[in-house]
């Protein structure tokens, strides 16, 4: 019995048991699955992705860049719906971050009304399921929108109807490409300029005006060129033709409902993270910075926020991941993203449950890994530099 009390032996034996158990279970499950799938005649065979789908038309919702029509092969539906997921995730992350930071800072305001407002916001949105927010926002804001025939244009440019929110679209004329090149150049120049400014500051301690110069480079310069060329842009406004509006950019109500709910909901979590991050910075840091004579906004920008970011980034990453995964709830309002289209309609009509669920999961896993990777890179840049 010496062997049984040998630590090494026990470790190996235990792991072997675990492994054998796992493999055994796996074999059993696979066998069952194969038997059942054979009985149901849904064994994976052939390349179902190139078979034609027969669902509603699918469009890349906001920009009409890509349209998949009913008889197109299934892989196009997969790509289109995946793009829709990514699209709404990026927009949601942007709005949630902006709003979350604002609410988080408001939560720390000395103004009683402001911080109570932020508190109530956070508690309200955190304590109700996201699915209900999506449905509720859709029901309160978007369902009552009138039909296109009855919808009244706002400023002759925007139309809010139950078919969608229409906004004017800029149609580039000749010469507009010059403006976009100048814009790109401006961005590059701004990056170079901030690099130079950092070098100068590291060397001499002089601070160069980075913000205003960059604003001029990125916004001012292209605007100047734009007006110098005589404004080579024509606005196409939506017009009522028949029973619907045509022209302009169309934003579907379900897209807007989902985006609003995702942003508001996630913002409440981000606000708490931001608040915790700012509070985690030692009070002495603020006092020392003030003692050095920095103005309050400089104290915030140069001392508090860089240190708070170290605490904020990891949980913020997981909120971004949550938002991306939560975009799958679009299925209840009918926004055409991957779960609704690929795992919903296409699964129902093709019956390829194993492949489709597997591919959808793989898609989300790779998105998760990608976001984690990007945020880790960013985290490394703000992490404490130990020398």
């Amino acid at each position: 019995m010496d062997l049984l009390s040998n630590r090494r032996f026990r470790a190996i034996a235990f792991q072997v048991i675990v492994l054998v158990g796992f493999l055994g279970a796996l074999t059993y499950i696979t066998n069952n699955a194969i038997t059942n799938m054979r009985a149901l005649n849904i064994l994976p065979k052939g390349n179902f992705l190139s078979e034609p789908g027969s669902v509603d038309n699918l469009s890349w919702v906001a920009l009409d860049l890509m349209t998949v029509s009913a008889r197109d092969p299934i892989w196009q539906f997969l790509v289109g719906s995946a793009i829709n997921t990514i699209y709404i995730s990026i927009l949601g992350i942007f709005f949630a971050t902006v709003l979350g930071f604002i609410i988080g800072v408001m939560r720390l305001s000395p103004n009683w009304l402001v911080n109570r407002f932020a508190l109530v916001y956070v508690e309200t949105f955190r304590n109700v399921p996201l699915l209900l927010w999506i449905l509720l926002i859709n029901a309160i804001v978007f369902l009552p929108w009138p039909s296109p025939k009855e919808a009244l244009p706002i400023f002759d440019a925007f139309v809010a109807s139950n078919r969608g929110l229409y906004a004017p679209r800029g149609m580039p004329l000749d010469g507009f490409s010059i403006v976009s090149y100048v814009f790109l150049l401006g961005i590059i120049a701004a990056i170079v300029w901030s690099f130079i400014a950092r070098r100068v500051q590291a060397k001499s301690g002089n601070q160069l005006p980075v913000f205003w110069v960059n604003l001029g480079l990125i916004v001012g310069l292209p605007l100047a060129v734009f007006f110098a060329l005589g404004g080579p842009l024509e606005w196409e406004t939506p017009e009522l033709k028949g029973f619907n509006y045509r022209g302009g950019v169309k934003l579907l109500p379900q897209f807007l409902a989902l985006l609003t709910a995702l942003s508001l909901y996630t913002a409440s979590f981000i606000a708490e993270i931001v608040r915790a991050g700012i509070l985690s910075v030692n009070k002495g840091q603020r006092e020392a910075a003030s003692a050095l004579g920095l103005r309050p906004n400089l104290v915030m920008n140069l001392v508090i926020i860089p240190q708070a970011l170290r605490v904020i980034i990891p949980p913020l990453t997981s909120q971004y991941l949550n938002l991306t995964k939560n975009s799958s709830l679009a299925i209840v309002v009918g926004y055409q993203e991957i779960v609704a289209v690929f795992m919903g309609t296409i699964l129902n009509q093709s019956g390829r449950a194993v492949e489709i669920i597997g591919m959808t999961m793989a898609f989300y896993l790779s998105i998760s890994l990608l976001i984690s990777f990007i945020m880790n890179l960013y985290n490394r840049s703000v992490a404490l530099k130990e020398r």
Binding site: A11, F14, Q15, V18, L19, F22, I29, N32, A33, T35, N36, M37, A39, S109, P110, N111, W112, L113, V114, F117, E123, T124, R126, N127, V128, P129, L130, L131, L132, W133, L135, L136, N138, A139, I140, L143, E150, L321, K325, N326, S328, L329, I331, V332, V339, M343, L347, A353, V354, I357, T360, M361, Y364, L365, S368, L369
Partner: protein
């Protein structure tokens, strides 16, 4: 010395002054808290405006203008439609009046206008029944007034709907539904056309007095309608049963209520262990009485009902006095799930125990008396040992003894010609029918079952996964890490789809499990991955010295975890654990997507698609949202309370 005394005597201290006016009092407080700087000067009024307007809208919609009358959405919408119709009528007739005062009066001129310009008018003329008159068309055309043309085009439609509403309400009168007085007026004098004709006649006759009189009646209608076009809580009132129990058979609902009360009893004993024994026993007595009442009224037990309630009440109170928290917890955790499954799905115990005759009753009665005697004896022993005589406790014991004797041994009830004891009668009535789970369980019942099962499974599983992830054994830690990262990387909805679509494929042929159970598997696995990460955080928060200390004491791995590591790790991860619970609880709403009638599923898949309650999305979702808000809010408050109480205070 004298000099000093003298100067001391001459010293007149300056009288204390009041604090500067602008640092004390209401004004200063407001200034400091609301108007401290230029940003505040802008932010405070803006926020105040937003808050007041949002609150006012919610309050006015949800309470002031809300109704809960009638038997369907038609009663609620009738007010809104009536007001809209009246508004349209007024618009149209005002325009008519205006038109009459102008010179376009001759029939030829009208005809000319209609023929030459108004293609839309000719189209509208073609619509039968409610087609607008020439004058009305002319009004719309000449004035180019969008509101008039809108009123014209919508009036017919609304009027038709209103007539349908009234017909529907008259056809389906709900016995206990009352119509709001104003609504009853509309339904009673249902011909809105009459008022309209009067108004029109007044316009044609150019009789200002009659016109004003007719108009003011319409005005009243508009105001009344506008005062009642808020939320329609009728839906919640009428479908309350479904929101709570789904499609659980109505006459069996007492079983759910009993289970809930048992849960409450367990909760009382576990979640507030710090209460004094008296208040604990009292609450146990109250809940016991409620359970007895629910059971007896549920099974239709007439005579024994009160006795059962009393017996359960006193019995539970005494049981609570006898057992400490640990034992109560053990009884609860082992007993509750079994009892709950029995009660909710099938209660087969009485079928197993059939008492044919009086001797069975005697055996039961004697066993009960023996148990009573044992408890009494124990209590007596304790009293003599501690030299503290408790008269009330003893009185209660005696009362229980008499009651037990009475209930089990003497009372006779006549059931189908047989003389039975009330206990036998109860057992006889407890032969319950089976209740299906799929498509029958629903509402809060399904939500609560999912939430509680998820919590009960995910905590132990999470601990195991967390320990596995931190394990030195490479295979164990790879498996744990792989599972955790996989589950955390995909949305819950895909896991639920997997559980509901793929799980049946993985089972041997012929084995089926119901939909709710499949969802439970998915939810529990999902929650345990998140739980594992929270607990891992707690484990990492402990210093290495704890493990090393335990090792040096010669404790085994499991002893170390059980006695040293986990108690500390779980304590510091309580906020995270409760957050995961809240998340899990909120995530139960996703069950509605895979076809289970949970609280949200009942709303979105049973209530809203029905004809009577269509288009009441805002009300239904707001009700469910409010429910979740209240429960989640209290859960998070409870976690903060627990955190404070468990803080042993060695941090600072």
């Amino acid at each position: 010395m004298a000099d000093q005394d003298k100067t001391g005597a001459n010293f007149v201290p300056t009288p204390p002054r009041d604090a500067p006016v602008n640092t004390v009092g209401m004004g200063a407080m407001i200034k400091k808290n609301l108007f401290a700087g230029p940003v505040s000067w802008v932010a405070t009024p803006v926020l105040l405006f937003i808050i007041v307007s949002v609150l006012w809208h919610v309050f006015s919609w949800g309470l002031l203008r809300a109704t809960n009358h009638g038997a369907s959405n038609r009663t609620c919408h009738l007010a809104e439609r009536t007001s809209l119709l009246s508004q349209h009528e007024i618009t149209i007739l005002m325009a008519d009046k205006l038109l009459l005062s102008k010179s376009y009066q001759s029939q030829d001129q009208r005809q000319f206008w209609v023929d030459s310009q108004s293609t839309w008018g000719r189209f509208a003329l073609g619509t039968l029944g409610f087609g607008p008159s020439y004058g009305e068309l002319l009004t719309a055309e000449i004035m180019g007034n969008r509101e008039v043309s809108r009123a014209l085009s919508q009036r017919a439609e609304i009027l038709a709907t209103i007539n349908k509403d009234i017909e529907f309400i008259e056809r389906n009168p709900d016995p206990d539904a009352t119509l709001h007085p104003g609504l009853a007026n509309v339904v009673a004098g249902k011909d809105l056309l009459a008022g309209r004709e009067a108004l029109k006649a007044a316009v044609t006759a150019q009789d200002p007095v009659a016109f004003e009189a007719a108009r003011s009646e319409f005005d009243d209608m508009v105001h009344w309608g506008e005062a009642h076009n808020g939320a329609c809580w009728t839906v919640v009132k009428r479908r309350w049963q479904q929101f709570m129990y789904g499609f659980y058979p109505k006459e069996q609902v007492w079983r759910v209520a009993t289970t809930a009360l048992l849960l409450l009893l367990g909760g009382l004993s576990l979640l507030w262990p710090g209460r004094s024994s008296a208040s604990r026993s009292l609450s146990a007595a109250v809940v016991g009485g409620l359970i007895g009442y629910t059971v007896s009224s549920g099974v239709g037990l007439a005579s024994g009902g009160l006795l059962l309630a009393l017996a359960l009440s006193v019995g539970l109170a005494l049981l609570y006095e006898q057992l400490d928290v640990g034992k109560r917890g053990l009884i609860f955790f082992l007993g509750f799930p079994l009892v709950a499954i029995w009660l909710l799905i099938r209660f087969s115990l009485p079928q197993a125990i059939t008492l044919p005759s009086t001797w069975g009753q005697w055996v039961f009665g004697l066993i009960m008396m023996a148990i009573w005697a044992l408890f009494f004896w124990q209590s007596w022993q304790r009293q003599t040992q501690s030299h503290s005589f408790k008269p009330i406790t003893n009185l209660v014991y005696l009362a229980v003894g008499v009651l037990t004797f009475y209930v089990f041994l003497t009372v006779r009830v006549d059931v189908d010609g047989q003389q039975l004891s009330s206990f036998q009668e109860l057992l006889g009535r407890l032969r319950l029918s089976d209740v299906e789970v799929d498509n029958v369980w629903g509402g809060l019942l399904a939500t609560a079952v999912t939430g509680l099962t998820g919590i009960a499974v995910s905590l132990p599983l999470g601990v195991i996964l967390a320990l596995g992830r931190r394990s030195d054994l490479p295979i164990v830690s790879t498996f744990s890490t792989g599972f955790i990262e996989f589950v955390r990387g995909v949305p819950l909805i895909t896991i639920l789809f997997m559980a509901s679509v793929l799980l049946p494929l993985f089972l041997p042929e012929g084995v089926t499990i119901n939909k709710l159970f499949r969802a439970l598997v998915g939810v529990s696995l999902f929650a345990s991955a998140y739980m594992a990460e929270v607990i891992r955080g707690g484990l990492q928060g402990l210093s290495k010295g704890q493990t090393e200390g335990a090792d040096s004491l010669g404790l085994s791995y499991w002893q170390t975890q059980r006695f040293i590591i986990l108690p500390q790790a779980l304590k510091i991860s309580i906020p995270g654990i409760v957050n995961t619970f809240i998340g899990l609880y909120k995530d139960t709403t996703l069950l509605s997507i895979i076809g289970i009638f949970d609280l949200l599923g009942v709303g979105s898949r049973s209530v809203l698609p029905s004809l009577e309650w269509a288009r009441l999305e805002a009300e239904v979702y707001a009700f469910i949202a409010l429910f979740f808000f209240v429960s989640c809010f209290f859960m998070s408050r409870y976690s903060q309370h627990l955190e404070r109480r468990l803080a042993t205070g060695h941090e600072h």
